[in-house]
Amino acid sequence: MHKLLRQIVKTGIRTEAAPQPDDSLRQIAGRLNDEVLRLLGRALAIRHVDAGSCNGCELEIHALANPYYNIEGLGIRFVASPRHADLLLVTGPVSRNMEEALRRTYEAMPEPKLVLAIGDCGCTGGIFGESYASCGRVANVIPVDVAVPGCPPTPAAIMQGVLTAVQAPGQGFR
């Protein structure tokens, strides 16, 4: 036990400052009123759905939980049920085999529901594009509020996308 405690003390706190929101990532302007966003920004529940990614974006979503980004420290947590979620985080082009599962997840969420599409595939269909097996970008299947490009986007960029989604346009993170 002393080794474990010593390691914790030695490691210290590594958490870095969170990025500022970026209005250029917005796909739909100001859907929610300021008060709702203010509340969400303090305790946001995210449901993630991988709709057909290469699993690269998932590596960076996992990284959000590491001590450097410490996303839970901002009051943001990942939940297991869409019923508990305020924001749906979607990765990948949407495979046709996942189209219905993604729609059902979206429909199961309570209003107001925010959608964040991440990665080049989520934003445009990426290298996979549209085909007999792929619906392409997430917005082809469900409405998207904020889209973050990158292959994969860095954890800081994903965090910036999340913070953009819960801020009123033109305001910094409070």
Binding site: Q7, S95, N97, A133
Partner: protein, 519 residues
Amino acid sequence: MTPAIPGLRLEPLAGAIPAWRVAVDAQGWLRACEAVAARGGRLAALWGSDTADGGAGTYVRALLVSHEGLICLELRVSEPDAGFPDLSDIFACAGRMQRGVYDLCGVRALARSGETADPRPWLRHGAWPRDVFPLRTEVPAASRWPAQPDEYRFVAVEGDGVHEIPVGPVHAGTIEPGHFRFSVVGERVLRLEERLGYKHKGIEKRFQQMPLAEAIRLAGRVSGDSTVAYAWAYAMALESICGSQPSARALYLRALLLERERIANHLGDLGYLGNDGGLAFGLAQFSRLKEDFVRANARLFGHRYLMDRIVPGGVAVDMPPAAIATLLDEADRLELEVRSLRAIYDDHAGLQDRFVTCGRLAPDTAARLGVVGLAARASGIAIDARAHPGHAPYTELQPRVVTERAGDVAARVTARFEELFESLRLERRILRHLPAGELCAPLAAASEGGFGLGWIEGWRGEVFVALEAGAGGEVRRCHPHDPSWQNWPALEHAILGNIVPDFPLINKSFNLSYAGQDL
């Protein structure tokens, strides 16, 4: 040395690894597989190709690994109804691959009785009709059909008190989608049946629209966590078609990138295995080390996960002397940190209680299922493509193949620790003996119909790429093969007799790719 298979004349393939191809009829197909299996060989991959544009009909190919190297069997199926001989009696792992061949190409594997052992679809859910086969040349890539009824019959377990737990395709955490059907009595798992294919997004059809040199980017996105392994395997296949060999410096740098991919993934897994075993401390510590490590990748190589750093003909990175010193220093510090964390894991009674005897895959079961990669080595099977003769630059680097006997979660944890240390040793050796040479050599034009193979030991297991060139420098057919095809069925066995709450831990200890097998 050419493998001897009675009655067949094997034609050697040019390229970095010892490989042969041979056209066979249905009899030869079975005989070759039986001969290779009898001498301890295995089935690496099985796929179909429709080459109607060449007037040749549909081919089914089986890639075998023998002691001498790779053997690619090519069976022409003139009539779709004729099918091809079922290999699942010889190689248990063939079953799902054969179902995939039917879904995409429309030719069935037929047992000696003339029946299909398992006629259920594997990759086809509701996206296309049952009488359409998307990889056939007459089906345009952009085709779209209305959603089809998606009926799938799971094997039912009957008995007093048995009930089913369906899980997925959307899972509770940040995990790829797939469906697990547990049959349980109380907490104990009587049977697990997987249903995958949810991520099928038409990668193989997509390849066919791409120029050979550009398609390496798609290969690097078959399974993002293994991007280096796939890009190298693709480059190896293309270079073998073009008859070129990268410089020694480029090969050393590729090995450096591959070992760094292994280290990063093992760091991540060791953290999550601690976490799933109830020690959140482990996740915090290992995810910190992994973040430091991928940040170094971004600084030195320009990408956190090293995507697109391997290019046809060589590499798109260099290693100046200052960077060598940085990486040697990083390796020393990382080794110290991981050794002290390992001591904490080893001494933690609660964690070891979760790990030891949990999710055991017995060596004989692993061998029968044809399991590969880290999971095979943790069940006592000493296979590693890096240790195979002819695998430059590993023949010079002399990697140690890590094996464990127990086959449980603890063994897969130990194998990750040991492989991580071995990768650090290899990394130091590469950095200290980096040969001079050009980073990337231009490739000669690929001749139409040229065929090449790539074989790389990624962190999860062996990755294969089989590539065929078309007329205008484009891909005629590319089949990328993930080790997860072989290892997913092993998870169904490892969970037996365990309790449902141990499933996440057992699953994580294999950490298989959905994207890589769904294609």
